[in-house]
Symmetry: C2
Subunit: 265 residues, 2 copies
Amino acid sequence: MKNYPIGIFDSGVGGLTVVKQMFKRLPNEEIVYLGDTARVPYGTKSPETIKRFAVENANFLMKFKVKLIVVACNTASSTSLDILREKFNIPIVGVIKPGAEKAVQITRNNKVGIIGTYTTVKSKAYEKEIRRFSRDVEVASKACPLFVPLVEEGWLKEDVTFDIVKKYLKPLMSKKIDTLILGCTHYPLLKSVISKVAGREVKIVDSASSVADEVCNILMALGKLSEQKKPSHKFFATDAVEHFVRIGEKFLGTKIHRAERADYV
Amino acid sequence: MKNYPIGIFDSGVGGLTVVKQMFKRLPNEEIVYLGDTARVPYGTKSPETIKRFAVENANFLMKFKVKLIVVACNTASSTSLDILREKFNIPIVGVIKPGAEKAVQITRNNKVGIIGTYTTVKSKAYEKEIRRFSRDVEVASKACPLFVPLVEEGWLKEDVTFDIVKKYLKPLMSKKIDTLILGCTHYPLLKSVISKVAGREVKIVDSASSVADEVCNILMALGKLSEQKKPSHKFFATDAVEHFVRIGEKFLGTKIHRAERADYV
């Protein structure tokens, strides 16, 4: 059971930024990654629909006897952890709590900003987690629905990208935040523009590395850290895999040698 | 059978621009509209996946004994008409041919531009239809994947919208096109910015009204025009309907009194 894989799912390729951190932090673990590219994005869809998709995705991963599931999508994490924990008898780890925790630790003026999709922002999931760690932190949030298509278009440093980032961040900057949570797995690819607009004094929190730490802590506590020397990983997508592999490698930072279509969608 | 409804599906709300024209042109026809909002957008997904979705959507509409199906989505029209015609024994009308035909009729310098989603542009469906009407027309096309999210964000007249339109249209304008096909049902909402960037001498072709004409011609030829005085319409969406109704009314231009969730997704 120790050497069973870890399952990770996301609405698309964004969750591969989490896989990248898992490879670094937990090099002995075997990963089964599923990107629901046929139904991406989740961020503009209703919580009910996202819950249904999340359960289907987790069902697919369970076939690989995964010992833990990471929900590497902020929108799914903000809506579906409860139903997944109800239905599946293994640890379910989302990306919201680790990011919230880190932001509370590093803010100095107790003013934290959050950017994410419509559904994530509307869910107030980050606010709720931040409240659990501290009652003193003020939170300001802003949905940035154009960031995902900008990243997928590859416009990471264009002038229009800078203008759009400026437009979205304006209300947060006027609240004098000193910490900004990137509440969507696509956003780390816009980090340099976001930093430039937000200014050097604003610290950027990207959940991916905090999630890998949390998974490590949980598996250690359960005595389930893998002892495999050369784990082999599996990548699945619900849409055709060519596009998934091409774009996914940008997020993962290394080659994806093989991906298969998950055909339950 | 005359008074049976017309089925129309789209990946989301965009196809309501076609419904709007149908209401004008064919006021006696009953419409059953289906927006696949749980899986929107189609434009970045593979032809295989879109075909699968198109067949599922048509199957849903067939339950209402529709006498004709309009595929009011350019991406689905560019990939799925053949498979739909194979599987269903009623007329299937797409949005590509009527738009292509109209562009060929109105161009004076025989240089036509096409803008649409990645999958529509890659399919070369407009080029193929234009070729069937004329061998002399030169075609230039450009995928504009940020237009749909811009429309859904409601940024119809912002400065960044103007800059993005300019960036996308540049290669088409340098080819001296005098006619531009809006090859996506979302784009009519950006028509004023597109016109401004393209200049007064460029004529804009929006397929929606040509499609309504084509449906009218087909039903007339088949002797199947409805004789209902007050047809009642049905609206369905695969995601939660509140958002569908709110956004959809902008596309339709009138109120949607009631919409239901189609639960096969």
